[in-house]
Structures are given as structure tokens and as C-alpha cells.
């Protein structure tokens, strides 16, 4: 396998968890909810996924468990912010802290154990094509799923009534409520969707990216996914581009090190975080883009009159 081919393959695996988590958070934010707990949901997805896969031997069951873990965490968040009307920022942070702690506890028994790897697909003839083969036809199912997700979310949000309702709820929840839409229900659904995607992203980490459980293995990817949603101005196609951009930066460090360039490893490891900051500066500084596309109600609790 050539060097370029290897690089592209690692970019894909590095970008996929970011893409999955960001798409989920995009839908959540479109409905007007800011869920800062992506990191917590992701790491819970990772530990649940690993635990289930190790215990049953099946990576697919692991994916299901990861998804469930993410959804469970997100529903805790939804209950607090939608039913009890707590601050979304504080609750999201608490979700992350809880997720990190809980995953550390659950995962302790699984540290150092060999992982169950999510296998790549293998289509006769197609996968064996030189260069294009492994890249286009030799990925695991979550990679393909992530791309389908981008298309599906884009379609639903902009071409269906469901998507219109989500945008309405996020744009002006008082108007949506006045028109008879159940704002809380729509938001619960979008939050759960976000949880499912973050859980999947986490499962991807512990089942495909590094088939192992390591404490805090999400390493801030959840936060980067949040930045990604802002950076992409809440548009699915831009999230795809952004995720692959960040994924590239993420693994760049490894390759630069391998080339023997005398830059400290820690500096290279800090690149994704620095690039995230730069991306935020660039996009937030452009007021027109942000103001027009931001879901107007984001972060505000909704309390209907009784």
C-alpha cells in the first residue's frame, strides 16, 4: 500500500468520529438546544461499545451498545434542560463531567484488554482495485453510514416538513408553540438523535479507530465537534468539509513525526486544538454569516404558559 493511500485511509478514520458527532449536534442545535455534553456522550459510547463488543465478541452489538449509551446520556440532559428547565450550558458541562467519570469507572475493568475490531467491508473485485479499492470500497460500515448521514440530514432538514418544523422550533420557539407544535417533544427527539450520533462516534473510537479502551480516549474530540458545528454555520455539507479538515490536522502530527522533522511531539499533538481556536476566530469574526444562520433560540430554555 502506497504512502498516499495510507495517509488517506487514516484521514478517513480520524474524521469519521468528528463527522458523526458533529452531525448529531447539528440537528440538536437546529432545534434550539446547545448540548455541550458531546464529549461525555461520546466517551460513554466508547466504553459501552467496547464493553459490549468484548463481552459478546460482536462489534455490531458494540455499535448498538455505544449508540444506546449515547442516547441514555442525552436523555438525562434532555430531562434536566427541557422538563426541569435548567441552564443548558451548565447541564451540558455536567453531562461531560459525569460521562468522563462514569466511563472511567465502567472502563476500569476493560483497560488493556484486546479489542474487537469493526471489520471493513470486502466487495469482490471492487475492493481489490489498486488505490481506489480500499479507499472507496474497503471502509467499515460506520464510515459509509457517516456519509449517508450527511445526505440524509441535509435532505430532511431542508426538504421535508419535519425539517421545517425543527428549524421553526429552533428559530422561534414561542411562534412554534403558538402554532401548536410541541416544542419540548421536538427537542427531546433532536437531543436523542444527537446522543445517538455521539454514541456512535464514541463506539467508532473504541471499535475501529483504536480497538481498545483507554480512559478519556475521546481526547477532546467532542469539544472539537461542537466547534465544528459553529464553524460550518449549521449546514451539513460544510460539516463534512470541516470534519475532514480537522481529521487531516489530527493525524498530521503522526506523519510529521514519522518524517523525522525535529518538532516536539507535544506541539504536533496540540495542532488540532490550536486549529480549532483559529477556526472559531475566523467564523465568529464574520458577523453576517453567524447571525443569519444561527438558530435564533439556541440555548434559551422554553417554558410554555399554562
Amino acid at each position: 500500500m502506497g504512502a498516499l493511500e495510507a495517509v488517506i485511509l487514516t484521514i478517513i478514520t480520524a474524521s469519521t468520529p468528528l463527522l458523526l458527532a458533529a452531525m448529531g449536534e447539528l440537528v440538536t442545535e437546529r432545534s434550539g438546544v446547545l448540548n455541550l455534553g458531546v464529549e461525555g456522550m461520546m466517551i460513554m459510547g466508547a466504553v459501552c461499545g467496547f464493553a459490549a463488543a468484548y463481552t459478546t465478541g460482536s462489534a455490531l452489538l458494540g455499535i448498538g451498545a455505544g449508540l444506546a449509551g449515547g442516547v441514555f446520556m442525552s436523555l438525562l440532559f434532555a430531562f434536566l434542560t427541557q422538563t426541569l428547565m435548567t441552564s443548558q450550558v451548565a447541564t451540558g458541562l455536567s453531562l461531560t463531567l459525569l460521562g468522563l467519570g462514569l466511563s472511567g469507572l465502567i472502563g476500569e475493568g476493560f483497560t488493556g484488554l484486546p479489542g474487537v475490531k469493526l471489520s471493513a467491508i470486502d466487495i469482490p473485485v471492487l475492493t481489490d482495485l489498486p488505490f481506489v479499492g480500499p479507499i472507496l470500497f474497503g471502509q467499515d460500515i460506520l464510515v459509509y453510514f457517516s456519509l449517508v448521514l450527511v445526505a440524509a440530514v441535509g435532505y430532511v432538514l431542508f426538504r421535508t416538513r419535519t425539517g421545517l418544523i425543527i428549524s421553526a422550533v429552533g428559530g422561534n420557539h414561542h411562534s412554534a408553540h403558538a402554532l401548536g407544535y410541541n416544542v419540548i417533544k421536538v427537542r427531546y427527539a433532536c437531543i436523542a438523535f444527537g446522543g445517538a450520533c455521539s454514541g456512535l462516534a464514541g463506539a467508532y473510537l473504541s471499535l475501529a479507530y483504536t480497538p481498545q479502551w483507554i480512559e478519556n480516549m475521546s481526547s477532546g474530540r467532542g469539544w472539537i465537534a461542537l466547534a465544528l458545528v459553529v464553524f460550518s454555520t449549521w449546514l451539513p455539507k460544510r460539516v463534512l468539509i470541516g470534519a475532514y479538515l480537522f481529521g487531516t490536522v489530527w493525524i498530521m502530527g503522526l506523519y510529521v513525526q514519522a518524517l523525522g522533522v525535529p518538532i516536539p511531539a507535544q506541539l504536533l499533538s496540540s495542532l488540532p486544538y490550536l486549529v480549532t481556536i483559529v477556526a472559531l476566530i475566523v467564523i465568529s469574526g464574520n458577523k453576517t454569516l453567524t447571525k443569519v444562520n444561527t438558530p435564533a433560540c439556541i440555548g434559551q430554555p422554553f417554558a410554555p404558559e399554562r
Binding site: A168, N172, L179, Y181
Partner: protein, 527 residues
């Protein structure tokens, strides 16, 4: 109970009524928003629902429309009892409602907004064409692909009306529809409503504009403090008698001094321009205005034409580059911030009392500190706040302005609208400012408080202060202003003496018809 209501309640399932809401009671916590209210309406009738702020009008119509459920009571539709569980049920029955505060989504198009208001099974195909057709038919034209954020308030109201019309309603409820319209737009609306009524549609019309109601409506139900107090034919009443029924007593007439000669100009705006960087904001262009000592100048205008921007430019929340654009007592201060302007003896009351004029969850004494910290006497010493001094000021405001509250120093949000507004206005007037700028002085305020506030403004002017009032309420403007200017799309017309400018002329100026001719011709222009 008033003898006017003797004929209510004698119809058991009578078919002649389109809508009957009988013995409606609605309780919120300790508040009885509707206390045994009955309302009946025939097909083709334009029925007014009158009452001041807090009388229970909005609550009653929300119950009819299904947004709220009554604590007790029954709604009858075409003679049969119905349970309007939610707005979808209401729409299916044939009830449409145009709210005072629109349920629109700025970031979506006209068609998308209307689609959201229709039920799911009505297809979106062809909706754009239907919108174009129906809106034009009824004299309220709309472009289906326009983004709501780009539309004026009057155009936005058309979306609300057209979306009701698309569902072929038998009853149309309208909540304060003309509050946001120019006089000409209001006339156009009346034509549309009369056409609908002629087609047999019933119209329930909430308004506090009594002249309008007398002109348009066949029947009226009057509420006060949640109770039904009268059912009258507005065409047989005068505006004064309707007002008395609404308020229950004679409201003290405001005594304005219209003949006093003004002194030196204390507030001067010269060529004030302020571009906005907010995609949904309004840029101010070349504004010229003078307010002299002892006079009240009003800026009339429909919402969204730059009033907030003008207020922020004068108050200093949004300073201008040109320091001569704003002068207080003759001193250029365009670049100064609000605290510096307060030190020049200017005071300001913004449009929104909750969240802007006062912090809702702070006590009243703390809200005193908000504007008194740099100019009030002894409120802040060596960087530390003297709470006792602030509380003294709070008591003083309460006494002078009759602020009614449960405890001596409650949270601001526990006060009613009228009382909080009295507090906010009183807080500024106790500073004895030479210049006062106030935006929407009596919006959402009961008649008693409104009268008190307007009298306070007049008294302040009589004391030699210059007052600038920005208001959407033309009745109020005519009552207190010496001169009137009109703001439209960020531009200000010249200020004309109140006796010399007609309602029609104001309406034209609101719509943007600016004269280019010599100012001396304007004063003599025919009404």
C-alpha cells in the same frame, strides 16, 4: 353586574350564534384572568372585545382558539358544545386567529411560514401559487419567496392574515391588529374585514382604539379585571362612554400646556447618521431634530423603523463617530457613553422595562442603583454601594409615582406592567433631568398608570425640561406633544406643531412619503 348584560345566557344551544363562550373561568395561580365571562357572536358580525391591559381579553381568545384550556365553562360552535383542545382543533372547526405578536420565523420564507401554520396533510405543492392568489384577491399582496426578516411589520401581518384566509375560516379573531399599521394600512385592513364579514365570516376584534371600534364594529363585549361588565352596540356609544365602561371610573384627563413658549434647545440632533451592522437592523440617516426647554416633542412611527436605533444613538448606548451629531445643553457629545450623558443631566427610559430598563430578578432598590450609580446622590461611595440610600430613593419613587407592590422592596418582575413602568419612569424623573428621552412610555400599561406617567411628563416639561417621546400610540402623541415628527426607515421628518399636522399626513409620512419642498410650505399644507 351591569344591566347591559341582561340578555346574555337565555339561549340554550341557539343556532343563530356562530360562537358562544359561556361562563368561562380561567385561573393562573392566584390570578383569575377570566371570571365567569360570556361572549356570543353571530355569523357576519364584527364583534369588538374591549378592555384595558390585563382585563383578560387575550386569555379569553386564547381559550377560544385552543391555546389555553378554561378552568371551567364551555365553548359552543354553531350551537354544539366543543372542546377546543389545541389550535389545530380550532383551525379544523374554522376558527382562525391573527395574534398581536406574530408567530413568524424570520429565517424562513413567506411560503414556509404559511406551510408551518397549515396542518400536515395539506400539501405544500402549489402553496406558493395559492398564497400569491389569495393575498392579491384580498388586497394584501405578498411575494411567496420573500424572507420574513426582510419584510415590514405591515407586510408580516399580511402573512398572518393570509394564512388564516387560506383555511377558509368561519370566524377570524384579530388581536390589536392596527397597533402596528399606518392609518392608510389600517383603512385597507377594514376594507378586507368588511368584505369577509359580508361573506358571512364572523370577526372577533380586540382593540383599545375606541374610534376605530365605533367605526367598524356591530357589537362589543367589555371586560374589566377579568369580569364581563357590559355588552353594547359601539355605534350607539361615544368613545368616552366606552372608555368609562372599560375603566370603571372617570380617568383623570391629562392637562397639557400647549401654549407655552419653549426656551433654549437642550437636545439637538444634527445630521445624525448611524449605519447598522446588524443584518436585521435599521440604519439612521441624516436625522435633524431640536427639543427645547419646556416642550415635548414626539417621534411617531410604526415599529421597526429605527426607533430603538435612534434611542440608542441619543442615550449613548451606541455612540456616533461625529461628536456634533448629538448635543446636550449645547455641548457636543456624540462620542460619549451613557454615563457621561447622564452626568449632563439627561435621563433615558428604554422601550423594554424587563431586561433593559430594569433587571427582572433584582430588587427595586438595586434597580435604582442601575441608573443612579454615577449621578444619584450618595448611592455609591468609594466604590461601595449604600443600600440604605438606594432603598430611600425606592421609597421616594413609590410615594411620588404610586407604585403598587406587595412588599417594600420586591423583585422587579413581580410588579405588574403598569407599576414597573411607573417605577422606571419615576426613577429617572427623581434625578430631575433637564433632558428626558423616553421610548414607548405607556406600552402595555393600564389606563390609570398611563395617565399618571403622561401627566408626569407634562409636569417635567413645565418645569423647564426638554422631553423627547418616541411612541407608536398616536392618541398619546396628540395628547401630550407640542411638536410631532415621524420616523420611517431610519429617516426623520421635520417636526410639525401638533395642531397643524393631520392624522392622514402622519400616515403618509410613516409610509415614507417625505417632502422635499421648503419647510415653511409644510406648516400651511392642507390636512
Amino acid at each position: 353586574m351591569n344591566e347591559n348584560v341582561s340578555n346574555v345566557g337565555n339561549h340554550e344551544g341557539s343556532d343563530s350564534y356562530l360562537l358562544e363562550a359561556r361562563n368561562i373561568v380561567k385561573v393562573f395561580g392566584e390570578l383569575r384572568a377570566n371570571d365567569d365571562v360570556t361572549l356570543s357572536l353571530k355569523p357576519g358580525e364584527i364583534h369588538a372585545l374591549l378592555g384595558e391591559n390585563g382585563a383578560g381579553k387575550s386569555t379569553l381568545v386564547k381559550i377560544i382558539y385552543g391555546s389555553l384550556q378554561p378552568t371551567s365553562g364551555q365553548v359552543y360552535w354553531k350551537g354544539a358544545p366543543v372542546d377546543v383542545a389545541n389550535p389545530s382543533v380550532a383551525r379544523e372547526l374554522g376558527i382562525g386567529m391573527v395574534f398581536q405578536h406574530f408567530s413568524l420565523f424570520d429565517s424562513l420564507t413567506v411560503t414556509e411560514n404559511i406551510a408551518l401554520a397549515l396542518s400536515a396533510d395539506q400539501g405544500m405543492a402549489g402553496l406558493a401559487e395559492r398564497v400569491a392568489k389569495v393575498s392579491t384577491d384580498y388586497g394584501l399582496p405578498l411575494r411567496p419567496d420573500a424572507l420574513v426578516a426582510d419584510l415590514s411589520v405591515g407586510e408580516r401581518q399580511r402573512i398572518e392574515i393570509v394564512r388564516c384566509l387560506l383555511q377558509e375560516p368561519r370566524l377570524l379573531i384579530m388581536d390589536e391588529p392596527t397597533a402596528v399599521l399606518t392609518p392608510q394600512e389600517a383603512d385597507q385592513l377594514f376594507v378586507t374585514l368588511e368584505r369577509l364579514a359580508g361573506d358571512g365570516c364572523g370577526i372577533l376584534y380586540i382593540s383599545h382604539r375606541l374610534e376605530e371600534v365605533r367605526q367598524l364594529c356591530h357589537d362589543a363585549t367589555i371586560l374589566r379585571h377579568g369580569k364581563l361588565v357590559a355588552r353594547v352596540d359601539p355605534r350607539q356609544e361615544t368613545a368616552a362612554s366606552l372608555a368609562n365602561l372599560m375603566v370603571g371610573s372617570e380617568v383623570a384627563a391629562v392637562r397639557a400646556d400647549k401654549g407655552i413658549a419653549p426656551g433654549a434647545p437642550l437636545l439637538e440632533l444634527a445630521n445624525l447618521s448611524l449605519p447598522t451592522d446588524d443584518p436585521f437592523g435599521v440604519s439612521l440617516k441624516n436625522i435633524d431634530l431640536q427639543v427645547c426647554a419646556g416642550e415635548i416633542v414626539a417621534v411617531a412611527g410604526v415599529a421597526g423603523n429605527g426607533q430603538s436605533e435612534l434611542f440608542d444613538a441619543i442615550s449613548g448606548e451606541n455612540p456616533t463617530a461625529d461628536e456634533n451629531a448629538v448635543k446636550l445643553s449645547g455641548e457636543p457629545c456624540g462620542g460619549e457613553n451613557i454615563t457621561m450623558r447622564r452626568r449632563r443631566n439627561a435621563a433615558f427610559v428604554p422601550e423594554e422595562r424587563i431586561g433593559h430598563g430594569a433587571v427582572p430578578n433584582f430588587a427595586l432598590s438595586e434597580n435604582v442603583v442601575l441608573t443612579h450609580h454615577s449621578v444619584g446622590e450618595g448611592i455609591v461611595r468609594n466604590g461601595l454601594i449604600d443600600r440604605a440610600a438606594a432603598q430611600k430613593v425606592n421609597i421616594k419613587i413609590t410615594d411620588l409615582f404610586d407604585v403598587r407592590k406587595g412588599t417594600p422592596d420586591p423583585e422587579a418582575r413581580s410588579l405588574s406592567g403598569g407599576n414597573l413602568q411607573k417605577f422606571v419612569v419615576g426613577r429617572e424623573i427623581t434625578l430631575e433631568p433637564k433632558i428626558l428621552v423616553i421610548n414607548q412610555p405607556t406600552w402595555g400599561v393600564d389606563a390609570g398608570a398611563a395617565a399618571l406617567i403622561r401627566q408626569a411628563l407634562i409636569d417635567l416639561a413645565r418645569g423647564g425640561s426638554a422631553i423627547l417621546v418616541i411612541s407608536q400610540d398616536l392618541d398619546e402623541i396628540y395628547e401630550i406633544a407640542n411638536r410631532i415628527a415621524v420616523i420611517s426607515r431610519g429617516e426623520l421628518s421635520p417636526a410639525y406643531p401638533a395642531e397643524e399636522i393631520s392624522l392622514e399626513r402622519i400616515g403618509l409620512l410613516m409610509a415614507g412619503a417625505h417632502e422635499q419642498a421648503n419647510p415653511t410650505d409644510q406648516a400651511a399644507a392642507p390636512a
